[in-house]
């Protein structure tokens, strides 16, 4: 296996609030390998965004505080870099795509000039003419029609889908090694989402960047990710190859999440929700954060008293689960994967 391009080790982030300390991210570790798409999935408050944003110096400190951990980008720790150093990496070798392009684009600059600026900040020697040429090429890569004319338009003249394309063009402007996409299609309609999925594929082909795809949408993960990190209550609860996670999950939360989905392709009499409410990060349950909602724990004491470590399974230990009884789950669990589950994974 090649060296990871990004390696997060033992990351713990807290926020001080009036109500107490919010344990947003606790002891999170994962690697991102060159060229892969790593899906980070979880519900609101699971820590999926904070874990990534804190690496890039994008959380407010205070109230935020990084208690421990490392985020090694090509061997250098992003968490100990100066603001100047991290600015050089951010938007250059590590770029971002956000959920809402309207709030992340500058309304008083033309689309083209903004992307050109992003290039010139990281490559000060670039002439305006060269930058313009490159921007037009990028707009074509992401499928903005009549790129030449669109260059001189302002964000408000772009539709939601077109703005997201422009954001993606900006994010790949400096040939990033790592592309972080935080809910990139959540604000978009399904037919536009389908377009943006294609654009993300095109962008990855153009740059060979490794993508971290942060989303709550399991459909998007199934469509795009190579490997998946499942987060719950600020911790990683399961990690593995996308086929393994969907076809043979080994954490009761992942199993519950998949089973709770309404299905597009078949009629169901009742949905199967996960009972209870997500944990409060101010006051997480002791032991496994999922135990109050877990139908599998069956009141066993260890679930309430001991935080289950993330343990490896199967060949090479590439599949990790943080459940005390993951082996039992493996024996009992029948695949929850929707349609085509009988097909061999390609």
């Amino acid at each position: 296996m090649p060296d990871p391009v990004l390696s997060v080790q033992g990351l713990t982030v807290e926020f001080k609030t009036e109500d107490g300390i919010v344990h947003a991210v606790t002891d999170v570790s994962y690697d991102l390998f060159p060229g892969e798409t790593l899906g980070v999935v979880g519900e609101s408050g699971s820590g999926k965004s904070v874990s990534v944003m804190s690496m890039l110096g994008l959380i407010p400190i205070p109230p935020g505080k990084i208690l421990s951990g490392q985020a090694l980008y090509k061997g250098r720790d992003l968490l100990t870099m100066s603001k100047k150093e991290i600015r050089e990496i951010r938007g250059g070798q590590v770029a971002m795509i956000f959920q809402d392009p309207m709030t992340s684009l500058n309304p008083v600059l033309t689309i083209g000039d903004q992307i050109a600026e992003a290039i010139q900040v990281h490559h000060p020697g670039t002439s305006d003419a060269d930058a313009r040429k490159r921007v037009i090429h990028l707009l074509e890569v992401v499928g903005v029609p009549s790129a030449e004319r669109r260059y001189d338009q302002y964000p408000h003249e772009f539709s939601g889908g077109m703005r997201q394309r422009a954001m993606i063009a900006m994010s790949i402007a400096n040939d990033p090694q790592v592309l972080i996409a935080d809910e990139p299609t959540t604000a978009l309609d399904v037919t536009i989402q389908a377009q943006i999925i294609e654009v993300m594929r095109a962008a990855q082909q153009e740059t060979h960047a490794a993508i971290v795809l942060i989303t709550h949408d399991l459909g998007l993960i199934a469509e795009l990710a190579d490997r998946v990190v499942v987060m719950y209550g600020g911790r990683v609860v399961e990690l593995g190859d996308v086929y393994t996670i969907f076809n043979s999950p080994r954490h009761p939360y992942t199993v519950g999440l998949m089973s709770s989905l309404a299905r597009l392709d078949m009629d169901q009499e009742w949905l199967k929700p996960i009972p209870g409410q997500p944990p409060s990060l101010l006051n997480r349950p002791p032991g496994c954060s999922f135990h109050p909602r877990c139908e599998f724990s069956q009141g066993r004491a260890i679930c309430r008293t001991e935080i289950p470590p993330l343990r490896g399974f199967g060949e090479g230990g590439a599949h990790l689960s943080a459940c005390h009884f993951a082996e039992e789950l493996a024996a009992q669990h029948v695949s929850t994967a929707p349609v085509g589950a009988g097909d061999a994974s390609s």
Partner: protein
């Protein structure tokens, strides 16, 4: 006779006096004027809803799906007259309520309640849960002392909350619990029908399923009729008996859920279904995927003829000239508004990737 009426006469004559029908909408139009200049002259119309016909039977769920800006929310609000219709008729339990004034609407409002998308914005943060749930009872003069208190507690139990929650404020609850409070409030007056506008889209997946199950259970228990408006095609399939697909102010296809999901005939319905990512990596590249080009046109200036034609891969000259009627076509049993309607099965496995 308007086009809509002709169509109704032609296609639904048999159900015109269906006694089980609770709501009927004929040729419903809602335009919003666009004002400009210092004199606020009307310079155009946003044609949010433009000639919708539908009927809902007692106890059934009609799902309305469509993307943002298609007019589904405006449709829901116009049907219960939170917005005044521009044209058309709304008939509730055999009574034409289109021109009802506020006072006359009071009795209708008891029977038809609405639940909104955002449980964070639709509950008054300064009121306790008890006050929120009791408010409709008080407005209609039905809240009386101990009995009213018992009724509120009963309602909370009905939606899966405990009576002890009555003295708390909305901010003390999670999104799913807040939506339950909204449902309890909507049920307070024993309505016959609920208009549910994206009731679960603000909730996390695992919580969505709880609220959807609650809605189904309440429907079974109280014989409620639902108009369920949403953009999530999976949730709509699960909860609906019949489904209507909306595009740019018009219904383009209606049918029972089997017909609509298994044998859709309108290109837009087909594109919509094919675009939803399925939660299984095993399905990668094994479904036909139709990626539509372009964006939805502005409802202030919709295309002539068929409104979908500007994004449609089947469009021909006739589509720009003639607005296709919503009627059964091409040997199909359910109404579809397309000159070139034919069955395609976007959910079927088609082996290796087809056209994209």
């Amino acid at each position: 006779m308007s086009q809509a009426e002709t169509m109704l006469a032609a296609t639904e004559a048999s159900s015109l006096r269906d006694p089980s029908e609770i709501l009927r909408v004929e040729g419903l139009v809602k335009h919003f004027p666009i004002k400009a200049g210092i004199f606020k002259r009307t310079v155009g119309q946003v044609q949010a809803v433009d000639g919708v016909d539908l009927a809902i039977r007692q106890g059934e769920t009609l799902g309305v799906v469509g993307e943002s800006g298609c007019g589904k929310t405006t449709l829901g609000r116009t049907i219960i007259k939170l917005l005044e219709p521009t044209a058309g008729r709304i008939i509730f339990e055999g009574q034409d309520i289109t021109r009802f004034k506020r006072r006359q609407m009071r009795s209708v409002r008891r029977d038809v309640q609405i639940i909104f998308q955002d449980p964070y914005a639709s509950l008054n943060p300064r009121m306790t849960v008890r006050e929120i749930v009791a408010e409709p009872l008080r407005i209609h003069g039905l809240y009386r002392g101990g009995e009213g208190k018992r009724r509120v507690e009963e309602l909370l139990r009905t939606v899966g909350l405990s009576p002890e929650h009555a003295n708390r404020f909305p901010h003390e609850f999670s999104g799913g619990q807040r939506q339950r409070i909204g449902v309890a409030r909507a049920l307070a007056l024993n309505p016959k029908m609920l208009v549910l506008d994206e009731p679960v889209s603000a909730l996390d997946v695992s919580i969505q399923a709880q609220v959807v199950n609650l809605l189904v259970q309440l429907q079974n228990e109280f014989g409620l009729t639902y108009l369920f408006i949403a953009h999530d095609l999976s949730v709509v399939r699960h909860i609906s008996d019949r489904v209507a697909v909306m595009y740019l102010g018009k219904l383009v296809e209606t049918g029972n859920r089997r017909e609509l999901y298994e044998t859709p005939m309108h290109p837009y319905t087909q594109a919509l279904l094919s675009a939803v990512p399925i939660e299984s990596p095993n399905m990668r590249g094994k479904r036909k995927r139709i990626v539509l080009t372009g964006d939805v046109p502005s409802p202030a200036n919709p295309p002539s003829g068929c409104r979908f034609r500007t994004r449609c891969w089947k469009a021909q000259d006739i589509c720009a000239v003639e607005d296709p009627e919503l009627k059964p076509r091409g040997g199909g049993s359910h109404p579809v508004a397309c000159h070139f309607a034919e069955v395609m099965k976007p959910l079927d496995v088609v082996g290796q990737a087809a056209a994209s």
